[in-house]
C-alpha cells in the first residue's frame, strides 16, 4: 500500500524542496548525520552538557520547537547581560563587583539550565576574578565569555537550521502524515 503511494508520488517534486520524493530519503539521512555530528562535536568539546539532551527529550508534537524557543530567549537575555557586564566594567566610576555578581549569577543560571557548559565555566572564572577584585582579570574573563557565547550561538543556530530542514523534509516526504 505504501509502496503504491510512493510510486504515484515519486514523480512529483516534494513540496518546498523541488526534489523528487525518492531523493528526500537521502537528504533526510544526510541531515540527521549532520545534526548528530554537530551535537557530538559540541559535547566532545565540552561546550554542551547533558542538560541540553534533557531539553531535547522534552520536545514533542505539541512543542516541536521547545528547545530553539528556550535557547533563543536565553540568547536574548545573554546579550543583555553581556552588555551590562561590559558597561559596568568599563564604567569610569567603577561601582564595584556587587552588581556584576547579580548579572553573573543570572547568566550562570540560565546557561546551566540550557546545558551551556563552557559558558557556565567561563562565568565561574569571571566570578573568581571579581572575588579577587581584579578588574583586569574580569576584563579578560569577559572577553572569553563573549567569545564563547558567539561561538555557541553560531553553532546552535546551525543546529536548529538543520533540525528545521529535517522537519521540512519529513513533511515533504510524508505529506499524508502531516
Amino acid at each position: 500500500m505504501n509502496f503504491a503511494k510512493n510510486r504515484t508520488v515519486s514523480t512529483v517534486p516534494a513540496a518546498k524542496t523541488g526534489l523528487p520524493v525518492w531523493m528526500m530519503g537521502l537528504v533526510a539521512d544526510r541531515l540527521r548525520a549532520d545534526a548528530n555530528r554537530l551535537l557530538a562535536f559540541l559535547f566532545n568539546q565540552g561546550i554542551l552538557d547533558e542538560q541540553f539532551l534533557q531539553l531535547q527529550q522534552l520536545r514533542d508534537e505539541s512543542s516541536p520547537n521547545f528547545v530553539s524557543e528556550v535557547v533563543n530567549i536565553h540568547f536574548h537575555e545573554s546579550e543583555k547581560l553581556l552588555r551590562n557586564l561590559r558597561s559596568l566594567l568599563m564604567d569610569r566610576e567603577f561601582s564595584g563587583y556587587n552588581k556584576m555578581g547579580i548579572h553573573l549569577n543570572q547568566f550562570m543560571g540560565s546557561s546551566s539550565s540550557i546545558g551551556a557548559k563552557r559558558i557556565r565555566n567561563a562565568c565561574f572564572a569571571f566570578r573568581a576574578a571579581s572575588e579577587q577584585n581584579s578588574r583586569a582579570g574580569c576584563l579578560r574573563a569577559l572577553e572569553l565569555l563573549e567569545h564563547d557565547y558567539c561561538f555557541l550561538k553560531n553553532k546552535l543556530h546551525e543546529l536548529f537550521q538543520i533540525q528545521q530542514q529535517r522537519v521540512l523534509a519529513a513533511g515533504a516526504r510524508y505529506p499524508m502524515q502531516n
Binding site: D60, G109, S112, I114
Partner: protein, 218 residues
C-alpha cells in the same frame, strides 16, 4: 488500571528566571501535571490567595479575610516548587510564609537551587520543605514530587484537615471500598475501623509502599 491522571495535580512553579520558568513548566507538563508559573514570591502568595500582611500589595483585588475558602473552590494547588533565591523576597521567604499560614501550610513545598550548599539544604528541610532539588532540574527529579502530592490529597480526602480545607466528597481516592478489601486480605471490619487503619498508615510516613497500594485503587 492506573490511578487518576496526574493532570489532577496542579503545581505552582515560582522562579524569577524566564528560562527556568519555561524549562520547569515543560518538565512538569511532560510529567502530566497542570502548571501555573509566576515570577516572584509575592505573586505566588497572591495566587495562593494569601494577602501580604505587610501591605506590599495593597491593591490586590478582592482578597477577603476568608480568601482561603474562596481560593480552594477556585483553584487547588497541590505543590509549590520554587527557586531558593529571588529578588524581592528573602531566602526561605516564600517557604516560611506558606508554612506559617494556617490555610497553606499543608501544601508541600519543594526548593530548587543552583548551588549545592549543605547548610542551605538542611535549613530548607528544617523550615518544612519536602525536597531540595539541584538545578538544572531533570525529568527524573520530578518523580520525587508525586508522593508528596498524593499524600496531601489522601489526607484531605480523609477529612483530617481543618474544616477550611477541601470538604468536597470525592470517592475517587482514599476511602475504603470493596476494592480495598480485595487488595488487602484483612478480616472483615467495619468501615470506620478500616478507614482509621488506612489513615494511620498513610499519615506519618511518606514513601511506604502501601501508599502505592492505595493509589492503584483509583
Amino acid at each position: 488500571m492506573g490511578m487518576a491522571a496526574d493532570s489532577e495535580f496542579h503545581v505552582l512553579a515560582v522562579d524569577d528566571s524566564i528560562i527556568d520558568r519555561k524549562v520547569i513548566e515543560r518538565l512538569l507538563k511532560t510529567s502530566s501535571y497542570q502548571v501555573t508559573t509566576v515570577d516572584s514570591g509575592s505573586k505566588a502568595l497572591e495566587f495562593l490567595g494569601l494577602r501580604e500582611d505587610d501591605g506590599i500589595n495593597p491593591n490586590t483585588p478582592s482578597v477577603s479575610p476568608n480568601n482561603h475558602r474562596w481560593r480552594l473552590q477556585e483553584v487547588e494547588v497541590n505543590l509549590v516548587i520554587t527557586d531558593y533565591c529571588m529578588p524581592g523576597m528573602t531566602d526561605y521567604g516564600l517557604l516560611k510564609k506558606i508554612k506559617e499560614s494556617s490555610s497553606l501550610k499543608n501544601i508541600p513545598v519543594v526548593i530548587m537551587s543552583s548551588e549545592n550548599v549543605p547548610s542551605r539544604i538542611s535549613r530548607c528541610l528544617e523550615e518544612g520543605a519536602e525536597e531540595f532539588l539541584l538545578k538544572p532540574v531533570k525529568l527524573s527529579d520530578l518523580k520525587k514530587l508525586r508522593p508528596h502530592m498524593l499524600r496531601t490529597k489522601i489526607k484531605s480526602h480523609n477529612g483530617k484537615q481543618e474544616p477550611e480545607e477541601l470538604g468536597m466528597p470525592d470517592e475517587k481516592i482514599g476511602f475504603p471500598s470493596p476494592k480495598q478489601e480485595e487488595q488487602q486480605q484483612q478480616q472483615p471490619q467495619s468501615k470506620n475501623n478500616k478507614r482509621k487503619a488506612m489513615e494511620e498508615d498513610v499519615s506519618p510516613e511518606r514513601t511506604r509502599p502501601r501508599l502505592n497500594g492505595i493509589t492503584t485503587m483509583v
